[in-house]
């Protein structure tokens, strides 16, 4: 039962495997692992670009050097086995049944192109009829929306968006909207060929009740479900059998300590699954997606080769990756609540609907009334206050909370980071700052 032991890296059910407390990584060691981070910056945006500890970077350099030393030898002797090793670890981590179901690609955007290209082909060949529906969430990542436009809408598919409330207070609100959208999708007699569902939305960031939505999809005859879980691994629980999607992708460079960039795409093996192909076609074409993805022409594949080193790193933490994500969640909620109390605002979603990021309402007096205002404020916080935090404009009336900061917590964060952010906003408020004052 090795796969369940490895599930999520959870060491709790096997006490004899637990490291003694004195073997866990210390705070000083953590800071050392991330000493390449700019110390002048309160880094609260782990969601965008992730982070990579020095020990993993060192392993990546070793791989790069190995290739540069004798690339033919590397290609013939090291590359394939290294990639297989990484894929095998991920297969265990996410509880997939077979390593063939796991492909390594650059990022979730690439995975999206792979899944949607297959849908586009189906439309072109007539397997899907014009007007058949692809469902997506309103808060789907911008790149995913564009990909649906490029691959699906252009091929004649019709797109139905699920509007999502934000701020949101319960999973039920999301489930309700999803059911309505599924009804709408089926209303004109078309089939819903694909539902694209986020696991953790990007902006605004909310953990979606994925299992419930996938169940609804199956009940309502949605043919395939693709989960865009760009943030998920290392941030929330990821179990392919539990979730039950046909396709699932997550970036390893966001919350799983890989260098830029690598993601996995899980494709459930099933007799009726259509062929997936990597859009960049090499001599491996036709050998299955995992093999096609392992060679897309000459590249630096080192980011895909360091997964074993990442496992070594996370094992140094109590509870492994499970322990890390639980602690991240506790702390980010605590920090979020501290901030909204200080500012008299509110969180964008309840704690059980957030993972390692929370949306913190910003004081209305800051006067954030557009996406442009949000970006300008973000730049201001970076340039003047040394705080890196993305800001989301949610709309709403003057006087109410119209914008939220998406704060994150990763192992390198300290209390000072959040205090620095709090102080920056407090200063802006004190000085009577509004976004209207910022030039374009």
């Amino acid at each position: 039962m090795a796969s369940t032991e490895h599930q999520n890296g959870d060491a709790v059910s096997h006490p004899k495997k637990k490291l003694k407390p004195c073997n866990f990584i210390t705070e000083a060691e953590i800071q050392s692992e991330f000493s390449h981070h700019d110390t002048a910056v309160a880094r609260l945006n782990n969601g965008a670009f992730g982070c990579c500890p020095a020990s993993v970077i060192a392993v990546q350099r070793d791989w790069q050097l190995k290739n540069l030393r004798q690339p033919d030898h590397f290609y013939f002797n090291d590359l394939k086995s290294g990639l297989l090793h990484s894929r095998t670890i991920i297969k265990d981590l996410v509880n997939a049944h077979h390593v063939d179901e796991i492909s390594l690609v650059d990022n979730a955007s690439t995975a999206t192109a792979i899944v949607l290209q297959q849908a586009a082909w189906a439309f072109n060949e007539g397997t899907f009829q014009k007007g058949d529906v692809v469902l997506m969430l309103h808060y789907a990542y911008g790149a995913v929306k564009k990909a649906i436009e490029a691959y699906v809408a252009r091929a004649g598919g019709s797109v139905v968006e699920v509007p999502l409330p934000f701020p949101v207070t319960s999973n039920d609100e999301i489930v309700r909207e999803f059911r309505k959208a599924v009804e709408k999708g089926k209303s004109r007699g078309n089939r819903i060929r694909l539902a694209v569902i986020d696991h953790v939305t990007s902006m605004p960031s909310v953990v979606i009740p994925l299992k419930e939505l996938v169940t609804i999809c199956r009940e309502e005859g949605v043919e395939q479900v693709f989960v865009d879980a760009a943030h998920a691994i290392g941030c929330t629980r990821v179990d392919m059998q539990e979730i039950g999607a046909d396709f699932y992708t997550s970036n390893l460079h966001k919350w799983f300590f890989c260098p830029p960039s690598v993601a996995f795409l899980y494709a459930r093996a099933s007799p009726k699954s259509r062929d997936l192909h990597h859009p960049v076609v090499s001599h491996e074409y036709g050998n299955g997606l995992a093999v096609e993805s392992s060679w897309t022409g000459n590249r630096d594949y080192s980011a895909q080769l360091v997964v074993p080193a990442v496992m070594e790193f996370v094992k140094m933490f109590e509870g492994g990756i499970e322990g890390i994500r639980k602690k991240n969640h506790e702390v980010v909620v605590e920090m979020g609540e501290m901030l909204v109390e200080a500012w008299g605002t509110h969180l964008g979603s309840p704690p059980h609907m957030s993972a390692s990021m929370v949306m913190v309402g910003l004081p209305p007096c800051l006067g954030i009334f557009s996406d442009s205002d949000a970006l300008k404020l973000r730049t201001r916080l970076r340039d003047k206050f040394g705080v890196e935090v993305p800001i989301y404009f949610a709309g709403g009336e003057d006087g109410s909370v119209t914008a939220y900061a998406r704060i994150s917590r990763q192992v390198y964060n300290k209390l000072e980071d959040y205090i620095k952010f709090k102080n920056a906003i407090d200063e802006l408020v004190r000085d009577g700052f509004t976004c209207a004052l910022l030039s374009d």
């Binding site: 030898h73 911008g142 564009k146 830029p260 000459n298 630096d300």
Partner: protein, 461 residues
């Protein structure tokens, strides 16, 4: 490679970094004579990360990158890790644009908007062929229309055609490359025959894929002449796969006149793995990067500059590469000329020692040349070729690709004193090579002959 240097400043406002090139028209203006061209020991130091003791004569496959460019790359990577948001907002776009502008100058493109940076030629092929595929699907083409290419086209290109053209009904015409080749005319003649085939049944040739330098066997094709023929014969689009070209021979896209031209910068132009440029003559074409981001619809250069979160550092170091090549006498032109002269000299030396032939005349090669292997070695299958290559790597620390070509039963099948020549090595010369590399190959092959060995009997790992 033990310490990371300070990151260079790749942003647009540092004008002294721009190109590092002395003039904008690379073909005509002469470079000033250097007072201190790079020395041999400096070159050795620049490539000191190459495995010692390996005779590295396969620069064509994976290229090479000097330490100073790797250091610049490390600098970029570190800067990203330090503060990725700042990097994304303030460094990345300007840096890529600067690299694109440097490439546009290098290849004499009319405008930087025609130049995109992608990972490699394989990605560029996907882009071009997906575009053709979309046009077929939309019914712009008739069932009898075709795509023409050389039979020795790179395997990834062939597979891309299988993926994007064949399923929607396009016909593929393959032109056999006469090999060993004696003149440009032989190639043009074969190509013309292929075009005739394409026009049977009234169909049109919608795309011609022409290698600038074929991979295996490696020959420089007369691209200008071939494109002229294409235009005369009404071929709609021409895609030149110049994967090996930049840093091997002069690339002037205006003069060459192709609709699409791709070349890898990491093979012969000293970039780290990996980056290539794709030039599109008409930048309003319906070409898209297959990985769609928020930049979709803003033109291929912009789409390619952000295909989701990636390590873009190879795309940012073009200015550093130009600094490197300009340390050599004659810059990149000087390097190309010396590589060519040396590889021809070494190839000739080998062919004479083995009693075999060269695969092409000197003027039809650049920095690589095909040298016939003695027929007594019995290279009579692709497996044999791979076996010999592995044997040379493992037992002699020589890295050289081996090519097998079956007899074609025409008057061109080359012979040596013992039989027909069916195997070739593709030797390369880059700035880090020395004559000893080729002497070792000569000796290793001669030793096999002395020992009466043949390929199928060679030990492998």
């Amino acid at each position: 490679m033990s310490t990371l240097p300070d990151p260079p400043n790749p942003s647009m406002d540092n004008e002294t970094h721009r190109n590092g090139a002395v003039e904008s028209n690379h073909l005509i203006a002469k470079k000033p004579k250097l007072s201190h061209p790079i020395s041999d020991s400096e070159i050795r130091e620049e490539f000191s990360h190459h495995q010692r003791g390996v005779a590295r004569i396969n620069n064509g496959s994976f290229g090479s990158c000097p330490r100073s460019v790797l250091a610049a790359q490390s600098g970029c990577q570190l800067r990203f890790l330090q503060q990725p948001d700042d990097f994304f907002f303030n460094v990345l776009r300007g840096g890529i644009r600067e690299s694109r502008a440097a490439v546009a100058d290098l290849i004499n493109a009319a405008h930087v908007d025609h130049v995109s940076l992608v990972d490699n030629a394989t990605t560029a092929a996907a882009i071009v062929l997906q575009q053709i595929g979309r046009r077929f699907v939309r019914g712009h083409f008739r069932p009898d229309d075709s795509v023409i290419m050389f039979q020795c086209a790179y395997q990834a290109v062939k597979k891309s055609i299988e993926a994007y053209v064949t399923p929607i009904g396009g016909t593929i015409i393959e032109v056999q490359l006469p090999f060993p080749v004696r003149s440009d005319e032989e190639i043009v003649t074969e190509f013309k025959k292929g075009l005739e085939k394409g026009k049977l049944n009234g169909g049109r040739v919608r795309l011609a894929i022409i290698d600038h330098i074929t991979s295996m066997p490696s020959v420089v094709l007369p691209v200008r002449q071939l494109i002229k023929v294409c235009r005369e014969q009404g071929v709609e689009q021409v895609f030149v796969d110049g994967a090996h070209a930049i840093g091997s021979l002069p690339v002037d896209v205006k003069e060459i006149g192709a609709d699409f031209y791709v070349s890898n910068l990491y093979k012969w132009f000293f970039s780290p793995p990996s980056v290539a440029f794709l030039y599109c003559k008409d930048n309003s074409n319906d070409v898209h990067h297959p990985v769609v981001s928020q930049e979709y619809g803003k033109g291929l250069p912009i789409e390619s500059a952000w295909v989701g979160m990636r390590d873009y550092s190879p795309q940012l170091v073009v200015p550093s590469i130009l600094e490197f090549v300009n340390r050599f006498e004659g810059g990149i032109e000087g390097i190309m000329q010396r590589n060519h002269d040396a590889v021809v000299k070494m190839g000739t030396m080998l062919a004479e020692s083995w009693g075999t032939v060269l695969g092409s005349p000197p003027e039809m090669c650049a920095s690589m040349i095909m040298v016939g292997l003695p027929s007594k070695l019995c290279v009579i299958s692709d497996d044999d070729a791979l076996r010999l290559r592995s044997y040379l790597r493992v037992y002699h620390a020589i890295e050289v690709p081996v090519y097998y070509q079956a007899m074609r039963n025409d008057d061109r099948d080359p012979r040596d004193k013992d039989g027909f020549i069916t195997g070739y090595v593709r030797i390369s010369h880059q700035v880090y090579n020395s004559a000893d590399d080729y002497q070792r190959l000569k000796t290793a092959i001669n030793q096999l002959l002395e020992d009466g060995k043949i390929c199928s009997g060679l030990p492998t790992e």
